[in-house]
Symmetry: C2
Subunit: 289 residues, 2 copies
Amino acid sequence: MTEILKAKPVVKNLYGQMKAEIEEEKYFPKLVIVLVGNDPAAMYYVQNLEKKGKKVGIEVETKKFSSTVSRAELLEEIYALNENDKVHGIMIQKPLPSNINEYEVNFSINPDKDVDAFHPINLGNLLLGKESFIPCTPAAVIEMIKFYKIDISGKNVVILGRSNIVGKPLANLLLKKSVVGNATVTVCHSRTKNLSEITKNAEILIAAIGRPKFVTSDMIKENAVIIDVGVNQIEDAEKGLIYVGDVDYEACFEKAAAITPVPGGVGSVTTAMLLNNVLAAYKKLKKII
Amino acid sequence: MTEILKAKPVVKNLYGQMKAEIEEEKYFPKLVIVLVGNDPAAMYYVQNLEKKGKKVGIEVETKKFSSTVSRAELLEEIYALNENDKVHGIMIQKPLPSNINEYEVNFSINPDKDVDAFHPINLGNLLLGKESFIPCTPAAVIEMIKFYKIDISGKNVVILGRSNIVGKPLANLLLKKSVVGNATVTVCHSRTKNLSEITKNAEILIAAIGRPKFVTSDMIKENAVIIDVGVNQIEDAEKGLIYVGDVDYEACFEKAAAITPVPGGVGSVTTAMLLNNVLAAYKKLKKII
């Protein structure tokens, strides 16, 4: 029987822990989201964060800026948030207007409040295996692996995709000498030759390339664990607009030992990981841990 | 015919370029090495750097400290060097006494003078694929690949070893979308199962584990390119103390398409890469590039 690695119990567990800790310890963690423009997906994500934050006791405030905001104005806001000791996490909702340099904005955030973990200091610490914030999607993958007790030590883990926010940080994390770590990690991407020969050797396959249903049944190993990071919107003839992953779920289901669904898989855990980072930031700033 | 990937022409080319540029442009780059204690290997390395620096026109000054130096004294020295605008590169020679926290020392260096590239900001930028200093050994490997025009794009590159100074930064670099990049990268280590099955698939095998002659002929693919980062001192029955790599050179020679010797391979290029970082630091600090 193929095991379905659902987000629901993972998230329930995480929110339960966070809520209990925040209530018992009388914490007041606060996240400020900087939202520029009115991208519908971004606005939906932000509203969801506000809702989930409320549920666990993390205050989430959204500072909205018009898409014509200047670089200086945005940086000034970030500097003020860096200094504000009532604010423990700062998140810059992407996408940003094209005239704003994303790297510069990420770099301007106080690394101790950088709950998205896009600041090079946090990514450098991640590479070094030091305690640091972990970007939400890699953190969600790790959390799934931990929750479902998937043994990755010494296993062949293949990551499809080499992005700065998923593939590369995840590769560094899975190599780490730790309980969820010690994997043999291969990173594949658009330039990889003989891709399916490599994916067919994967005991754990993690897809993060943003191509709907790219991974087909003939590309996976019998009894592999399939972790699908992709969330792609496609037009379905019957159902209209639907979300699918990077993996052809129906086609791969039988062959896999375990598989994450989309929606209701990795993507649904990322919000919890972001809020978890806010709580960690709060404790670090208050020197509680 | 197996090609021997010697350091000599690579280094000659690098020093030639550096020397010409420094002379023509009337640059005065300066490296300060902080040397604690009197480890013979460290002292030998430092003397070699001084000699090579002189050759190309980079001033190399060594500040010596007794092995009883305090943390505060060492950090004070580093802060002074950070501020000193006559100094463009700072290198803390390892090993440090056990009471000194290596991470803290690396972190205290001005990232713009961090020619060893051990500061998390530089490693974070490396992960992000941004322009940054690159640690000398990974930089030497890249330089070898570039000089000998080894095509790694889309190829199966297997790295043996997941250290913070070689394996992990190198993996991130070889994945990069760049001329020397776009490789499919697998990182193996002590926990890897079925190691030789993986190494036998490597079109390019990079060994960086510090175990003398670990890689044997049956572990490599016919016509693979073998890059040996290891430098291990062993006792030879006839020759006494000798240096050997992580690869059994004699045994693998015939089967490989190309192979780096030890000594006279990657290790000999690292010093040049360090001095090259000093020159780059000089130009960045002087806003020349």
